[in-house]
């Protein structure tokens, strides 16, 4: 077995510079051929508070190193010293754009280990919040993607649409960003009267904007020229680098947790897995746009199929001092970025022994990004990062 096969971390440095025997690139900074440039943490073209240390030769990146940890709060440690129910305000702060996935996964972990039942309506309401979270997550992402190539107008439209979804979130849960809506046994509140009509009105407005965005952004000559063929993900990397979600689906891997491992009420909904083949920045962007449109359709389906009557939460006695028998479980769900997983170990006490969060950005943002940055033009770094949809708090938590 050659060195390259055994040690795949060295990336595809086909052109320049040469690779030393230990697998690292032969970069001699004192030769003045290379420039070291920090992309972030204070940089408008970075996804959140993280940094990429780039080594440039001309305007081409020869090495990129991801630096994370700027947002580390030690959630997994803090959760160990709080009771199970006290952790709900914490978990939603792990991923700010989509807090509901954290709540859902954590609540489901507790339900799996204790056997708490969730009533039918509670499950439907959970599915609704999860889909709405996906919708607003994608809307925010489209704004970021357009901003990364300097197209601010789309960002304005997308953020307006996102505000509409946030309004409905506020009506349903009481919070704009952090909802703390999903609890063990169901959801906190029932759906308000007339929610469906107001949601439908908002969805129509969003669809109108999406037609504009499609024409202005996805049929845009400049965007196509810059993104087609850039940032290729080889389908062979999907398992090596733990690529999940839209990034994997754009590389032709037909895998969607909502379909393959149906959770909540996804088994009763009618939708298809979106896949694409070309696996470049444009394909990933367009695939996310298609998923966004499907999410709008799914929200309509959920609101149609949701039962009018029924409990939204089951009675759980002594939730404040809930004790969970020793055991461990893993729960996954499909957020906008891919597989979001929670691994919970209980030891029989009122406090969790360990909670581990598997954010999809963990693999996308470090190992994969470092591999993809090699031989990319410096101007494309921002859109490459946004097209992977990395979100740093998931990496360091």
């Amino acid at each position: 077995m050659s060195k390259k096969e055994f040690f795949p971390m060295d990336g595809d440095r086909t052109k320049y510079p040469e690779i030393k025997s230990d697998g690292t690139a032969d970069i001699d900074l004192s030769s003045h051929k290379y420039i070291k440039l920090w992309h972030g943490p204070n940089h408008p073209g970075i996804t959140g508070n993280m940094a990429v240390e780039l080594t440039l030769c001309g305007d081409e990146v020869v090495e990129g190193i991801t630096h994370v940890g700027y947002l580390h709060r030690g959630f997994e440690k803090l959760m160990e010293r709080r009771k199970y129910i006290q952790n709900f305000p914490l978990v939603c702060r792990i991923a700010v754009p989509e807090p509901d996935y954290n709540e859902y996964n954590y609540a489901t972990c507790i339900e799996n280990l204790t056997g708490i039942d969730v009533p039918e309506k509670g499950m439907w309401l959970r599915t609704l919040t999860l889909e709405m979270a996906r919708l607003q997550g994608f809307l925010m992402w489209i704004g970021g993607m357009a901003g990364a190539i300097g197209f601010g107008t789309v960002g304005q439209w997308a953020n307006y649409c996102r505000d509409l979804v946030l309004d409905r979130f506020e009506e349903l849960t009481g919070g704009r960003i952090y909802h703390i809506y999903i609890l063990p046994g169901g959801v906190r509140n029932d759906i308000p009267e007339g929610f469906k009509d107001r949601m439908e009105k908002n969805l129509r407005e969003i669809e109108g904007f999406m037609k504009d965005i499609r024409r202005a952004f996805f049929d845009n000559y400049v965007f196509k020229k810059r993104s087609v063929g850039v940032g290729y993900i080889d389908p062979a990397w999907v398992f090596d680098y733990g690529i999940v979600g839209p990034n994997a689906r754009a590389a032709g891997f037909k895998h969607d947790i909502r379909k393959n491992y149906p959770y909540a009420k996804y088994a009763e909904l009618d939708f298809e897995i979106t896949t694409a083949k070309d696996s470049d920045i444009y394909t990933r962007a367009f695939l996310r746009f298609e998923e966004l449109l499907k999410d709008i359709d799914l929200i309509r389906q959920i609101l149609d199929k949701m039962p009018e009557k029924g409990d939204h939460i089951s009675k759980v006695s002594n939730m404040m001092n809930l004790k969970i028998p020793a055991g461990e479980t893993y729960v996954r769900s499909e957020c906008t970025r891919g597989e979001y997983g929670y691994y919970l170990v209980a030891d029989g006490s009122e406090y969790p022994r360990r909670v581990n969060v598997r954010g999809p950005s963990y693999t996308h943002g470090v190992a994969l990004l470092e591999k993809m940055l090699v031989n990319v033009n410096i101007a494309d770094v921002a859109q490459l990062m946004v097209s992977l949809h990395t979100y740093p708090p998931e990496i360091e938590r």
Binding site: P41, N49, G69, G74, R81, P89, M140, Q156, I177, Y178
Partner: protein, 213 residues
């Protein structure tokens, strides 16, 4: 950057020319910050009016509060109508919004960013976590009160503060500036040693010059 990078070194140019580089003197200014005294009361009042109507924010999303900054830029909340706009670099900004908790790793960058901003400059602390630690009161990696490390003019409470709260915070800051009470930069210059002592207590690998601008 590491501490060794700040030592003097010999550099050979591509043409074979040798020259010495002393990063501490060549890349950084060694002078301490100084208090800027108002020239004249009437002129200063005019200046303060002008300053308060052009708050240029540094677009540095240090924490989760940054997610509510984007709606602020869009038509619904439209902070631009208050003279607020976002700038990509600290050299062009005069308002630093610390949007939420600061891990010690970010605090180091925020200090550098603050020192690189031009006078007059203001700091706004966003969220409960900048006031007293908020829900991260027992975290080993986040600072608990921001005003020990940077001079804060306005706090906006909440976790996370709504865009309306932020707009109210801007209004409050404008009032302070117009009244001539937002003297954070001068306070930083006057109590420079105290701020540096606090910063160095928390940042354990201090590998930058004391004042870098």
């Amino acid at each position: 950057m590491s501490l060794e990078d700040l030592n003097k070194k010999q550099i050979v140019s591509p043409d074979g020319e040798h020259f010495e580089v002393d990063p501490m003197n060549d890349y950084f200014c060694q002078d301490r910050p100084e208090e800027v005294k108002p020239v004249n009361k009437i002129v200063e009042r005019f200046y303060n009016w002008a300053r308060s109507e052009s708050l240029w924010i540094l677009g540095f999303g240090t924490g989760c509060g940054a997610i509510e900054m984007r709606p602020l830029m869009t038509p619904r909340f439209d902070a631009y109508r208050f003279g607020v706009q976002w700038r990509p670099t600290p050299r062009q900004a005069n308002l630093l919004i610390v949007s939420g908790y600061l891990s010690t790793k970010t605090l180091k960058r925020v200090i550098r960013v603050y020192e690189q901003m031009q006078n007059p400059k203001f700091v706004m602390g966003l969220g409960s976590c900048t006031i007293n630690g908020g829900m991260y009161f027992d975290s080993y990696n986040t600072i608990k009160r921001l005003d020990y490390y940077l001079p804060v003019d306005v706090y906006v409470a909440g976790c996370m503060p709504r865009p309306e709260a932020l707009l109210a915070g801007f209004e409050e800051l404008k009032k302070l500036i117009k009244a001539g009470k937002a003297e954070g930069a001068n306070e930083y210059a006057n109590k420079f040693d105290w701020y540096k002592k606090n910063q160095k207590e928390v940042i354990r690998d201090w590998d930058m010059p004391d004042y870098n601008w």
